[in-house]
Symmetry: C2
Subunit: 541 residues, 2 copies
Amino acid sequence: MGISSAVPCCSVWSRQTQLRWLTSFHRRILAQQSVTSALGTLQQGKLPGAPTRVVSVPWGVSPRGRRVLHAPSSSFQEVMLTSERYRVQRLPFSCVSDSDVAFFEHIMPGRVITNPEELKPFNVDWLKSVQGCSKLMLKPQTTAEVSQALRYCYERNLAVNPQGGNTGLVGGSVPVFDEIILSTVLMNRIISFDKVSGILVCQAGCILEKLNEYVEEQGFIMPLDLGAKGSCHIGGNVATNAGGLRLLRYGSLRGTVLGLEVVLADGSPLDCLASLRKDNTGYDLKQLFIGSEGTLGVITAVSILCPQKPKAVNLAFLGCQSFTKVLETFTTCRAMLGEILSAYEFMDEKCMELVERHLKLSSPVTGSPFYVLIETSGSNSTHDEEKLNNFVELAMTSGLMLWSLRERITEALTHDGYVYKYDISLPVGKLYDLVTDTRVRLGQSAKNVVGYGHLGDGNLHLNITAESYSHSLLDAIEPFVYEWTARYNGSISAEHGLGFKKKQFIQYSKPNEAVFLMQRFKAMLDPKGILNPYKTLPSSS
Amino acid sequence: MGISSAVPCCSVWSRQTQLRWLTSFHRRILAQQSVTSALGTLQQGKLPGAPTRVVSVPWGVSPRGRRVLHAPSSSFQEVMLTSERYRVQRLPFSCVSDSDVAFFEHIMPGRVITNPEELKPFNVDWLKSVQGCSKLMLKPQTTAEVSQALRYCYERNLAVNPQGGNTGLVGGSVPVFDEIILSTVLMNRIISFDKVSGILVCQAGCILEKLNEYVEEQGFIMPLDLGAKGSCHIGGNVATNAGGLRLLRYGSLRGTVLGLEVVLADGSPLDCLASLRKDNTGYDLKQLFIGSEGTLGVITAVSILCPQKPKAVNLAFLGCQSFTKVLETFTTCRAMLGEILSAYEFMDEKCMELVERHLKLSSPVTGSPFYVLIETSGSNSTHDEEKLNNFVELAMTSGLMLWSLRERITEALTHDGYVYKYDISLPVGKLYDLVTDTRVRLGQSAKNVVGYGHLGDGNLHLNITAESYSHSLLDAIEPFVYEWTARYNGSISAEHGLGFKKKQFIQYSKPNEAVFLMQRFKAMLDPKGILNPYKTLPSSS
């Protein structure tokens, strides 16, 4: 890496207020909490207590804009059919007939896909862990077309799988059997953007990264950011209530999404596309669709509040000697950085090993069992820019690199073999114990057991890799992980949703009465159950 | 006022980074936008361009903690019965019998109120605009008691009016006829507080101000703040999705409320009291109860995320020559203060006149048609405290005073006669035109037409006063105000809710399909319609 040649960080730090905060904070951490790192050790003779890499990232240049979710593997291995691997029974929906295809071809000519080769990537999830066998994909461009298509499917009792960028991790975005894939890929129009309020209204199929580039040109950013930004659709983000890297700073989509346009299962459109920060006229219907994973309606347009683009972004990367130190560092960090703290991500050394081995990314700090990536975003540019000065050139590269280390862990894991993925919320104090306990439990039967995640949100990504999928390993992991999580009142799906793979475990995080009520909502809004069947909720029978 | 003796602001300003921002920003405003004020004029010889009062408020001392919603009037005038003024038909609920009273006395001995004198204040709203004639109030202490009471009422077909602090402004918190008042006043226990995450779990009847004092001692604040904080209950805040003064900075309750415990109409408890920042396991049921005004269930406990207590709080009060200047100032202000901006409230001169006349509060800046109160909250205390220094003693008093000017407008208005209140969301550019147009339309038939509100949230409080209630004045105002709001895609209730008084106007802000869906939710969750009848939704027939 370009930046691993020693940079005169120390002298630059002494001239930068914001960075000085970080530096002095790290000094204290070093003293109190014995945070160490290889680089830190190298430098300690010259500057005791500066073990981290601290860099600034100019937003205008947007190095983070370049991050994308890379394809998990070039060697396209055959994926088992979901229905076979999980032994699922097809529900008695109608099968797509020639006259159905003709009808769809009539309402959206040239946008009806039936070629099996063309359909293949839309039948398999990004993780290559589940595969359906849909024979038909529709690409509507307008809400009216979605409405027409759904009304027809509802009458014909045809099951429908709404699909955005197909980057989901729990098998929610691909068919289980032959559901019709309703893709938002051509619904990618920006409807309006208000420069005073920062409110963006757009169609559901807009790609998150494109939206971010668009609003950045006007001095704003999207309130969410995730590794899949280069492919994921905003409609899919909302349907799955995606969390991601900016949640700590800008809150969840439940606060930033101001309005939705949705088409219900029977084809009736529901216009809740308000563009107001406050609106207390009746029940907030849109909330029911946020995070419902396409089972209650198809989101066709989104109104979302974008925060101002921060003028100064700084990153720090540090090593910690224990998870307790990671927690102590977080408390200190939050108290000292307050409102400018925009991310606090942790990774264990196993993650870093995989990222280095499979992606050839090297960590600027090594030799610690834990690593933390801290990002700050501030508005006082006059103050900061003057002080950050000499660092900017370097930062552009290294800032990108630092975030890649964290964001490409998912990708590195897919190169390591079959991945059992768990996305858990826990009280932060217990967060890493689950990784340790799982490692002990699985012993040699797993290849790697790693933990990383958004510590600031109490969110752990526990990942277990093995050479290939095995039922016996799965049995050793589940329900162990879910029972462990339930014991500490955690959530078995913090941000990934339930999709196909987790739906039968909902009771570990929700009481029976709540699940029953969800089933009643589903039955009320989609009485035939045609929308994204086999997903999210256990069947009510 | 103590602070109106000239303080050496200028010299202090020059030593305070944060205040200097404000000052230099105001200078620019003055130059570009001709913001003026009496005080500014006085000082301009010495310091051109410093027309505002800027003060710092230490959070530890918490002057804002003392703000309460004062009783609107000492002369208790007789309030017309809602059923008579609005000519409502009582629905065929059962009437409370002696055996009902005996049952309730059995399950919550000594906490069943039937004395008409004692019941009186709970039958009348804070504005003294609506009055019911309930003959029974219950004061449960536990969720189990709420559950028992509701199960009984549901079986007996007895209507129930859930009530928190009774500070609502749309007639949602008092009975229309003889509904049983179910008060949360004795459900005031704090269940837990996590100092690492800032997550508070408490019963629904805790008073907002008490909660704020409690979490402040641990270094946090409540994410919402409103004038009624001294009386309102957190359960009522959540049930009405209260907005208030901190929304601009900390977002709405839809993001900060992490979990709810609710008792449904038939008495079944629903435990969604999670204490996790992220949880994507199924539909987010709690959202349906947030803002449902007690019509779908009774909130019995709340889990809420508290932000860190800011270490430095500054206030600025300035006059503007036009509403356009108010808007321009907002844009500049938001760009320069970014993440530390915590409130941007505007008031017109009519508001200030009423506050001065009725409450004897005097504005530190006079002679402008518009005034703006800006609050910043920051974390860099080492930096700020060192610099703010000499100002602190003064700030405690004046900070309180500045906020009183804004917060006690509602109270001042009640002293001015009968108040027609409107709480509107609009695109900020159109916000004040509604006040001007209403003033022109009403002419001499209104006593005062005033506008103020949370400009940062696009939220206008339009208030019209008259000597007494009159049908003809009401007809001149409505539906004019609602039609005007609908024309610009605004909301006819930004934060107050619909309650009794606005329910028939929901269609100005929501399409028919949305209202129909809300009615289906109501029918599903409360098939007999016993919870807060006559409120929020128009009747479905």
